[in-house]
């Protein structure tokens, strides 16, 4: 019983999903938050810090949509500002200094497209992540657990591996935007979703992602599934030398 692309889109946006908060609470109960980009601010749409994972230190970075309307507005509904990308990069480079693996959890419609974001260099912030994350000498794994929207998601998903939850999407823009730009008709959303190859199955086939994580309704099982994948993949990546890791990362994108 395969879902249609539009059903996956709806499920990816559904409130039934696990949240960044849950991921931190259950998988990383000793999570210690680190704030700020050391340049201009502290974007609440990105929450990052250090935690232990099966007894070993890791750097954890999650996007955050927030709860309640006030918090959601502050977090721009999980759309990072340039300072959010810069905070993530600061934490990733810090992790590399100590060879601490980086685990990113992404659910964002995209980078925040506001006036302040433009003036503070949204494009430059994302560009810097793409330039530098490819070169860090520590494993970087991304799990997408909802929407993976455009360059704003790619800037947090350009490391060694990207895994997607069964009910998540990753695309160049929303299917609504796609159908309105290409067909000047926002009613062809379902057709757009179908065509865009944004479901985990399509993306796995294109080798854009490494794998799909089963996502039953019960959150305890979902989080256990994430734990299992991360444990296995980290063990694999940690056997590689720094040079092997970076060459592998180069090849990962070079093939497209």
């Amino acid at each position: 019983m395969n879902k249609s692309a539009m059903e996956v889109v709806r499920a990816a946006r559904s409130e039934k999903h696990i949240t960044g908060h849950e991921i931190r609470k259950v998988l990383f109960p000793d999570f210690f938050e680190l704030h700020g980009d050391r340049l201009s601010g502290d974007d609440p749409a990105i929450v990052g810090g250090i935690a232990t994972f099966h007894g070993k230190a890791v750097t954890v970075i999650t996007t955050s949509r927030g709860h309640g309307i006030k918090e959601r507005m502050e977090k721009h509904f999980g759309q990072p500002e340039p300072s959010g990308y810069r905070k993530a990069l600061r934490l990733i480079k810090n992790a590399a200094k100590f060879h601490r693996p980086v685990l990113l959890f992404v659910d964002t419609a995209g980078a925040y497209p506001g006036k302040s974001a433009e003036e503070n260099g949204q494009g430059q912030a994302i560009a810097q992540n793409l330039l530098e994350i490819g070169q860090v000498k520590t494993p970087v794994i991304t799990v997408m657990y909802g929407e993976g929207g455009s360059g704003g998601a790619l800037a947090l998903a350009c490391g060694d591996e990207v895994w997607m939850m069964e009910d998540s999407i990753f695309s160049v823009l929303s299917p609504e935007g796609f159908s309105s730009i290409l067909w000047k008709d926002s009613s062809k959303v379902e057709k757009a979703a179908e065509m865009m190859k944004l479901t985990p199955n399509d993306l796995l086939e294109l080798k854009i992602i490494e794998g799909i994580i089963d996502e039953p309704n019960d959150h305890t099982t979902v989080l256990k599934n994430i734990d299992q994948v991360l444990t296995t993949e980290l063990a694999k990546l940690q056997q590689l030398s720094d040079d092997e890791l970076i060459q592998r990362r180069y090849n990962r994108f070079r093939k497209f």
Binding site: G121, L130, S150
Partner: protein, 282 residues
Amino acid sequence: MKLFQHKNTLTENHIKADKAADDKVPDGLIKRCPKCGEEIFADKLDEYAICPSCDYGFRISAKKRLTWLVDNLDEWDAEICPSNPLDFPNYEEKIQKAQKISGINESVLTGLATIANIKFALGIMDPNFIMGSLGQMTGEKLTRLFERATEQHLPVVLFTASGGARMQEGICSLVQMAKVSNSVARHNQAGLLYITVLTDPTTGGVTASFASQADITLAEPHAMVGFAGRRVIEQTIHEKIRPDLQDAENVLKHGFIDQIIKRQDEKATLTWLLRNGGEYHE
């Protein structure tokens, strides 16, 4: 009341528009500068195609830019054509049209260029090719440009012009941002100079990747440089934004561009920067 009876008002004296005027003036004879509104006789535009009033550089094809920019160019990968990874309907027709207009096969022209005996790797994105959008093969040509430059120990100069990712190629376009960025990083690690010249328009995924990763970032006067589209920004913040928010001049003020360079000065500027901005190559 006298005011209203006065015959000599502006309206009375207004010269009536000649409704047939459009028919009398051949198509394309007059161009309007999209930035300052100045009307320019098209034949007054020289090969640089700049507005005499505000220095805005009109969008020109990569091939036209080449004519005054370099002394010589050996083109690389000229045969590479766009792919259609999503089997997007009617995309081939669109590509053929773009190829006919621009005279190139994909939205960027690349090669080994020479100015004043200085050799460098050059890329010019073409705004006439599906708005310079970043297709999978655009990314491939750019990656090869940086890889060859790294191997041959050459600086890279890249003229950007792009609406961003190419929608018809979906996710395969998006990942080019990371692919090209990785090749820029290797070029950078080899200690080589990278200069970008942002031309109108440089937006979206191109701004958010290789356009913003250079050692020296130049821009043409009034070029639109930004990440999100104006309409999207206005819908997001629920207010109108100032018309020059994404003008290169404003982006410079915020610290993201080194200098605005007029088109006719680009060759001399690049010559100086290629000599002095990085390692020297003759």
